[in-house]
Symmetry: C2
Subunit: 292 residues, 2 copies
């Protein structure tokens, strides 16, 4: 980095050779709470990869994104690579498969996925639509599994991807069964709008949540993608708590994407998909040990 180079940003202003100045940088895209602890630096390196999907960064890229000096980055990346958290190809670094190994022992992640998979595949085979399995992480959902339907709508979802609770089918389900404090946090905060149909009013959202909790199924229309209907249902763990949600996303015209039969009265999705989703959720719950 430029020794004499004058950075346009105020960053180098003082050049007080404190070893902490590097943090501020440009108010990084996400991580703002860097406490300059050694552990935080390691995590900052990993965060550099989480930020992007493209996931192939040079050492300098990592250094910039993590807000660390090149020297520090060099050393940390070296250690992480040796351990297997990163992989090096030429001059590009990527997340290593050892991370997958770790993720595999995540109870709410791949372990849950493992158990749910057969039922998700059945649901996918029956509907030919995008099938989702999601858990809640704070005020967002995280997709644990997604079975993609070639002709279906919305390829926005992605394993490990995060979305707001109020705008997704699975999110509504998880929010409806979440604790009071979680609901209040979402209801009191700003509700991001994606389409004209997105529920951004706390009153409406509150009603929707009550309805979802009562009927044990969420059916929403065009909350994120116009013309896409989301249908979701809760999955219970062994202790009865809602641990996850299963959902599908179908075109709102009610037809299956790969033209099958014509929809019956009331719409194909209403007649078939809703019960299918509910049944799938129940089967997974049972497989998890829920007494039902």
């Amino acid at each position: 980095m430029g020794s004499v180079h004058v950075q346009p940003k105020e960053r180098s202003a003082s050049n007080g050779k404190r070893r902490d100045v590097h943090v501020a940088a440009g108010a990084g895209p996400r991580e703002s709470g860097d406490k300059q602890t050694a552990c935080a630096r390691v995590l900052a390196v990993l965060s550099a990869f989480a930020a992007t999907s493209g996931a192939s960064l040079s050492l300098t890229d990592i250094s910039r994104r993590a807000g660390l000096s090149l020297t520090t980055t060099h050393r940390l990346v070296g250690e992480l690579t040796e351990w297997g958290a990163l992989e090096r190809h030429d001059r590009q670094y990527r997340i290593g498969i050892r991370v997958l190994e770790l993720a595999a022992s995540s109870t709410r992640g791949l372990e849950l996925r493992e158990i749910a998979m057969p039922y998700l595949m059945d649901l996918h085979a029956a509907t030919k639509e995008n099938v989702h399995l999601a858990v809640r992480a704070g005020l967002e959902i995280v997709y644990v599994e997604r079975l993609h339907a070639p002709g279906g709508v919305e390829i926005l979802s992605r394993i490990g991807g995060r979305w707001p609770l109020h705008a997704t089918g699975t999110g509504l389900v998880l929010l409806a069964h979440a604790g009071y404090d979680v609901q209040e946090q979402v209801l009191s905060g700003p509700l991001q709008r994606f389409t004209s149909k997105t529920i951004c009013d706390s009153r409406t959202l509150r009603q929707a949540l009550a309805e979802v909790k009562r009927t044990r199924v969420a059916v929403t229309d065009g909350q994120i993608t116009p013309g896409a209907v989301a249908i979701a249902s809760p999955v219970h763990g062994a202790d009865g708590e809602v641990v996850s949600a299963v959902g599908v996303v179908v075109p709102s015209n009610g037809f299956a994407p790969r033209g099958t039969e014509r929809p019956p009265a009331g719409g194909w999705k209403q007649q078939t998909i809703v019960p299918a989703v509910v049944t799938t959720a129940r089967r997974i719950s049972r497989a998890l040990g829920a007494r039902h």
Copy 2:
């Protein structure tokens, strides 16, 4: 530092208690390469979870497994939990879903899986057998995906799980297409035996590898589990390199587990499954951008 502070000699001499004493101790259960760097300690904490599948540890458990003092563990676990790498429930810690988020941007991990998934599901639907997608990590394979067949054999495999190259179908494929040095390392090292049929002779293994490379398919019998035949084929990336392997495991009697038709002459698996696996591998290669 106490520049002016004059340390009484005997003091520093007597207590030679360098802060590293804890490491060596009793030749820790696993990790021996701890270099007592801060980064290594963070990774040691994570390794504590990778060691077990059960994946639910108390603070003291983590401390023991990682070979760190309780104080250090307490602080690191706190930071990791705040970041999302760990999740706390009551007094038990688990791997957090943020790790899944990281793993999702692993090119050789979930990204590969994402692309391959439709073809794997087709193969699974056609064969009703255990379907595997694996990559090579050093001298082992790591399963990136596994579609489980309820009636099938071998539930030993597991996403993120590791197995030797010489004893698995996908491993043979990956080894056959690996570099010379990798092959020599395996051939010169001890070859772990699982069954009486496991190839543990370097001569035989060398021949098998040549055959696999020539035919572009591996068919092995009872290498790990008696009565289980593994069939695997290589997947090529955009640059033509072998990046992965697809495989299925079927009972050696040649019947599909869920009694379908009787096997044709030569065995059902030979007639149907081998071409199916090869075709699947080719389709995935094409989806990855292999010109072929």
